[in-house]
């Protein structure tokens, strides 16, 4: 039940073979059983039960709000939820109870979903591993010490019982990816049917890829950012993580569309996407950007990339190599823009109106300093420092303005490809399978991000939609994923092609034996 599709569960709910409350309890139990992975910062038992009860009342009256009524969802802990802790994984907001709901949260609520909890993330979403949270790291379920089976797989992976691991092995688990690692693990473990993440440079797609689930980064401006605690306003988008393209689409249809509270959302009304079961792959023109090949890419990833390109080709699609010449500059440019906006966005955390506050009473400046050095981790503080450096009058042209120019070039790279009759781009999502914690944490946050975001952040720079799909398992039995990118607001094309690919490859399901 917990690993089935939203559609099939919705059918059960509608036919009363299952109640929303039963589903909610099962979900809460699953959250409890998978607690060791640390996917959740807050489990909202009471809220969930209340939501489920209301769903049941509606369903019994035949007043269902639609397919999402009664469906358990989870929310990354950087979306404001009224009356519920929204910590951003930071000491700074460890006591922050927002007085309002983010637009996406209230839209999910209006659709009747049941919120089961708030998911772990890197502090203020600055990271790519969900290892930098004051609530501790989130572990990937794949390769974890939880017993599971991989259904319909020919892979050699066998579930390993907890006892089989030595202590050192236990510490050497695989990361979930990040920064929306909690959301991805929650979806992968059946702790919810879908979860919201946020995506600034790949924060939704990266953990979805490592956790073997589907992750969508919508076009910038399609989904409201009101209530999403910002990392980089000009790159952030709410992301969607679910176990299938269909489920992702259902959520997108619920949360997308104009919002008066976010002036950067497009004004035209959103048209819900209903996915066609079959598409004419012969009409598809797929580009393979050559610059996405890089030395750090594992051969396994290169293999599945090639193989998937062939699958498209064999089905009649046109597959051509294309060039996005400024790709290699993208990550540096991304870093500058990121740090500048971080410096600016973090200025409000002074401890006066919300969040933690220091004890200094000598002067306001001292109080600010104490609050901020206590409240932020080193990653956040160093980004603030360099961001402020880039924004200094004497550096502004050299860094910020230059980064904006490079950003434009990157966007123009994509435009040129689309103008060259390419419908979609196919690339890896990450350079490898999920790294082990110890391997990952050998590098500093900056190095981690540069490697992890290599394939994902250009879509943020261009504002375009991108989706990650699990393709196959690695030798070690961990998910390997690929990404499809489409022109601005071509979510329909993107999702239909992704659905086709999902059906063509049928990635094995993970089933927890707990």
């Amino acid at each position: 039940m917990l690993s089935s599709s939203i559609k099939s569960v919705a059918k059960q709910l509608k036919s009363s073979t299952l109640s929303a409350s039963e589903l909610c309890e099962a979900t809460l139990k699953q959250i409890d059983r998978t607690k060791s992975l640390n996917a959740f910062i807050t489990v909202t038992h009471d809220t969930a039960r209340e939501h489920a009860k209301q769903s049941d009342e509606r369903l019994s009256r035949g007043e269902s709000k639609g397919e999402l009524d009664g469906i358990p969802v989870a929310i990354k802990d950087n979306f404001c939820t009224q009356g519920i802790l929204t910590s951003c994984g930071s000491h700074m907001l460890s006591n922050f109870i927002p007085p309002y709901d983010a637009t996406v949260v209230s839209r999910l609520r209006d659709a009747g979903t049941v919120m089961v909890g708030k998911c772990n993330l890197d502090e203020f979403a600055m990271g790519s591993g969900t290892v930098d949270s004051i609530y501790g790291p989130t572990q990937n379920v794949w390769g974890s010490d939880l017993p599971y089976e991989v259904a319909g797989s020919t892979a050699k992976h066998k579930s390993v019982s907890k006892k089989a691991y030595s202590k050192s092995q236990q510490e050497d688990w695989h990361i979930a990816g990040g920064s929306s690692g909690g959301s991805a693990v929650a979806v992968a473990t059946g702790a919810c049917f879908a979860a919201l993440g946020s995506d600034t440079g790949g924060s939704t797609r990266n953990p979805a890829a490592y956790c073997g689930v589907v992750g969508l980064k919508p076009s910038y401006g399609l989904v409201s950012r009101h209530g999403l605690i910002p990392l980089v306003n000009s790159l952030d988008v709410p992301g969607i993580i679910a176990r299938s393209v269909e489920d992702v689409t259902l959520i997108l249809n619920t949360i997308a569309g104009p919002d008066v509270n976010d002036s950067t959302t497009v004004k035209r009304p959103y048209e819900a996407i209903s996915l066609k079961d079959t598409i004419n792959t012969r009409a598809l023109r797929i580009g393979i950007p050559k610059e996405y090949h890089c030395s750090a890419m594992s051969t396994e990833v290169q293999d599945i990339w090639k193989r998937t390109a062939s699958i498209f080709e064999e089905s009649g699609a046109t597959v051509t190599e294309v060039s996005l010449p400024h790709t290699s500059s993208s990550i540096a440019c991304y870093s500058v823009l990121n740090q500048c906006e971080v410096a600016s966005n973090m200025a409000r955390y002074d401890g006066l109106r919300f969040g933690i506050r220091g004890n200094e009473t000598r002067s306001t400046e001292q109080l600010f300093a104490e609050t901020r050095s206590k409240g932020f981790n080193e990653v956040v503080r160093s980004r603030i420092l360099s961001g402020n450096y880039f924004l200094l009058k004497q550096n502004y042209e050299k860094y910020f303005v230059k980064a904006l120019k490079v950003r434009r070039l990157i966007k123009e790279d994509f435009d040129a490809v689309w103008n060259n009759n390419i419908d979609l781009l196919l690339t890896p999502t990450t350079l490898s399978q999920a790294p082990r914690f110890q391997e990952f944490t050998q590098h500093d946050n900056q190095t981690q991000c540069v490697t992890q975001d290599y394939c994902t952040q250009p879509a943020n720079m261009a504002g375009i939609p991108a989706i990650t799909l699990p393709i196959s398992l690695s030798q070690e039995g961990l998910p390997l994923s690929l990404q499809l990118m489409a022109p601005m607001f071509k979510e329909r094309t993107l999702l239909e092609a992704a659905l086709w690919l999902q059906q063509a490859i049928s990635f094995p399901k993970l089933k927890l034996q707990i």
């Binding site: 404001c80 907001l93 927002p98 309002y100 950012r225 006066l352 306001t364 400046e365 924004l391």
Partner: protein, 501 residues
């Protein structure tokens, strides 16, 4: 020593430029839905955005843009078809986001001008036209307010996020009186447009003045900035004080320091401000949450629901003070001074306009005199008390027809100010206050006057001293100010000619 001798000469030329923050009159703040009422209790007009709660986003208030555009049009500015918003960063407890959203790089409007009249009554009176050029007009948010006492600092965020227009003028004024006149004219314009209340006592209009002095033909001197001057009189006084302070310092061989000063109204001095923001680098950055602001500035542009239509606003511009003054001079033969004074007084102006609309052939000069002398005196004395236009019109007409004179007019006003039960005409009728023109009555006043001033009459007849004036005023007195003095004068000249020199 030669340096000193240069400094000792007194041909210093002051240069003054103003930066004015005018709070846009609107129901809600610039980027949030919170209210703007000045009298709201502390921290009650604060939207989540105004407290910079994480995740909140600014949404531009269209009404504020329209007010800005209207103001820019009235000041002959070039409007930018596309303008943008920037973040200006600094840490202060009353700046919740750690930055102010303003328009630094591409403001709403540029290159305007303000024509105004420099007018001052009294012993060093002056009256001349002046133009000051506008560098730019930008929209921005206000900060909150900090309240300090010995033990604590408290913050009121009601003001945080209020909509401001910052008007940056070029430094083309030469003293405090010019600056005060500029501010006065700006207030007239903004209140006429309805884009700012200009209530300086509520901080709705705040003036910063840049002041420097230099010698003709030499580069500009080091300037100081006087911050947040809170009244029109203070503008004149603060600037004039600062100019003479600088000249005195330079004459003593001291140097002027580039600094921020404030006006202390109690001691009538400018004093250096505790410099909270030394040399700040504001680390400007484009505001990423606000799309560029598009204006429709010519008819070839298609209208988009998100745009603000300048062409439409252009048609809504009212007649501006300068145009009014010109029209009053042309149409009603008012003097320049009368026109200036009339337009300066909001209440009188509207009464004038209304009274003239009510009766087109009314004598505008008599009306203006009545307003500027007598009505204004009442206004100043009583604060807000206001006569009915109908009464003022009747008084004007009665004066014009000779039915009453100035003195009766005054009495009527006095009467009206106490009770408005009767109209001006009714008062005259009831009290029998019409001017006495009956020749018999006039003659009897004159006879009585001669009787009382027997000695004056004798000297007059002997040709020693002309007694007309004394006798006339006595007759005036005897008539209880109601005699038509033209007739009294005429009678004396006829019946008591003067034969002296």
């Amino acid at each position: 020593m030669s340096q000193f001798s240069i400094l000792l000469s007194s041909d210093w030329k002051p240069v003054v430029g103003l930066e004015i923050h005018a709070q846009i009159k609107s129901a809600s703040k610039l980027f949030s839905g919170a209210g703007t009422d000045f009298y709201t209790p502390t921290n009650r007009s604060v939207a989540l955005l105004d407290a910079a709660l994480p995740g909140t986003l600014p949404v531009l208030n269209r009404r504020c843009v329209e007010a800005g555009v209207l103001t820019a049009l009235a000041l002959s500015c070039d409007l930018n078809q596309v303008s943008t918003f920037d973040r200006k960063h600094y840490f202060y407890s009353d700046l919740p986001a750690g930055y102010q959203i303003t328009q630094q790089r591409s403001p709403l409007a540029r290159n305007g001008l303000l024509k105004f009249v420099v007018y001052k009554g009294g012993k060093d009176s002056r009256l001349y036209d002046k133009t000051s050029y506008i560098h730019q007009i930008q929209l921005e948010q206000d900060s909150g307010r900090s309240l300090h006492d010995d033990e604590r600092s408290l913050v009121d965020l009601n003001r945080a996020g209020l909509p401001l227009m910052e008007l940056v003028f070029k430094p083309d004024l030469s003293d405090g009186e010019e600056a005060a006149s500029l501010v006065k004219e700006l207030c007239l314009i903004l209140t006429r447009l309805g884009t700012c209340s200009c209530k300086m006592e509520e901080g709705a209009l705040r003036v910063d003045a840049n002041v420097s002095v230099h010698k003709e033909g030499m580069p500009l001197g080091v300037r100081t900035e006087i911050k947040n001057i809170g009244s029109i009189r203070a503008v004149a006084n603060a600037i004039d004080f600062e100019i003479s302070r600088q000249i005195q310092s330079l004459n003593k061989g001291k140097q002027i320091v580039n600094e921020t000063r404030s006006w202390d109204a109690q001691s009538s001095k400018t004093v250096p401000m505790r410099d909270k923001e030394e040399k700040q680098d504001y680390r400007y950055m484009p505001e990423p949450n606000l799309p560029p602001l598009h204006l429709r500035v010519n008819s070839s542009q298609a209208m988009d629901a998100n745009m603000v239509d300048v062409l439409n606003l252009q048609n809504k511009l009212p007649e501006l003070p300068n145009e009014l003054r010109q029209r009053f001079q042309n149409d009603f033969n008012l003097s320049r001074l009368q026109a200036v004074r009339l337009v300066n007084e909001d209440v009188l102006l509207s009464q004038f306009v209304e009274a003239m609309e009510e009766k087109k052939d009314r004598n505008a000069i008599i009306l203006t005199d009545l307003l500027l002398n007598d009505v204004l005196a009442h206004l100043n004395e009583r604060g807000n008390e206001c006569f009915k236009v109908k009464d003022l019109g009747e008084i004007t007409d009665m004066m014009h027809s000779g039915k009453i004179n100035k003195s009766i007019a005054r009495n009527i006003l006095k009467e009206l100010s106490v009770s408005s039960a009767l109209t001006a005409e009714q008062i005259v009728k009831e009290r029998g206050w019409t001017l006495i023109t009956d020749s018999k009555e006039i003659e009897s006043f004159c006879h009585l006057a001669m009787k009382e001033y027997d000695r004056v009459v004798k000297k007059h007849q002997a040709g020693k001293a002309n007694g007309w004036k004394t006798l006339e005023s006595k007759a005036w007195q005897i008539s209880e100010s109601r005699a038509d003095m033209e007739l009294v004068k005429e009678w004396f000249r006829k019946h008591l000619p003067y034969k002296g020199k």
